[in-house]
Symmetry: C2
């Protein structure tokens, strides 16, 4: 597949879903699937699937369906999973630890190369095969090593200061678990927000709505 | 505000964002805001904001802007934040612990009433003001107590079995951190998925895309 000029955010967010569903289907030993069957499984329409894949120059032959492992590999290459981007984890409390352990196991395009915390109790302890560094080393480390992305597992106020320090030395990609909204202050960044409270509130709405 | 018949999933997902931004603006001591200014801050258009709020019967007077704290309270009541739905946490490893601590602090519409784990090392330990229970008690506990939602902080395979057991006794609302896609197997449920790998992959795509 070749990449066309503009890919909408909605399609970008569907790519990991394609990858996830194709992995499930592949594990079940299925080697081929029609756009209709894939659409049914994913809760999409077959025309939407064809349109999505056409954004990347199309894939599959009309009437023959998609070869699962080929499509999965193509999507992996579109996402850029083989890049092994270098990421750091900031904050290694319970959340940071669980994120580190998760990222160590599952293919996701990133490799954790360092982790930082402000707590003296945690600095020097081990996480994965790394030693937790003091947050005071953060800027120095990131100046001396090429870092592609920072994963923020710290509260909102600390996240704000940390993003400023990292942005000032050229780091513009963040996976953000805090409720600080980075894109309010910076426009030229890449960010994925995991706002747990937003998800809980959406769920709360759905439950409340059903009981009306 | 009164609720009209159908509210689109996109609006439902924007409600917590409204609440979050209004909280930030309120903290800055601002008491009134025009739909244009709110739109600029949130990266939306003013017509979209008016449309969203019109879904709930409208709010604010043309030309006078919105009263921040009134609008925030209305949105809180639309989301149903005062319901204090009863939730349980399943899996109290690092992830479950961080979710429990987070939920204990931030207003989100839920109250944690029990937590469960399969590990003998964790059963009987304390989390918040609760004692971690054995996963073997899960079905009994949920049969005897009214539970509104289960928060799944366990791996995909365990999540699948657990959802089945809970669904069979009538629990149909889940906050899901595992990569198991509950809506593949059940259609009549409410679920919010927090698929960390999907977020990482989207971020990976964005970084790779910028470097082409």
């Amino acid at each position: 597949m070749s990449r066309k000029q503009y890919i909408s955010p909605a399609i970008i967010h569907r790519l990991p879903r394609y990858y996830r569903y194709l992995s499930i289907i592949e594990k079940e030993g299925i080697s081929k699937i029609s756009s209709k069957d894939l659409a049914d499984i994913m809760g999409l329409t077959s025309s939407q699937i064809r349109q999505d894949l056409n954004s990347f120059g199309g894939f599959g032959q009309q009437g023959y369906g998609y070869n699962i492992s080929e499509l999965k590999n193509e999507i992996s290459s579109i996402i850029g999973l083989n890049n092994h981007f270098k990421a750091i984890i900031i904050g290694v409390g319970n959340l940071g630890k669980s994120v580190a352990n998760y990222m160590d196991k599952a293919e996701n395009g990133f490799e954790i190369v360092a982790c930082f915390d402000k707590s003296d109790d945690l600095v020097g302890t081990g996480l994965l095969n790394l030693k937790v560094q003091s947050i005071n080393n953060l800027v120095n480390f990131c100046t001396e090593n090429r870092i592609d992305s920072a994963i923020l597992c710290i509260p909102s106020e600390e996240a704000k200061q940390t993003v400023k320090a990292l942005y000032d030395i050229g780091i513009k990609s963040f996976c953000n678990f805090s409720s600080y909204d980075i894109s309010l202050d910076y426009r030229d960044i890449q960010v994925e927000n995991i706002h747990l409270r937003d998800s809980l509130m959406s769920l709360c709405y759905k439950i409340a709505d059903e009981r009306i």
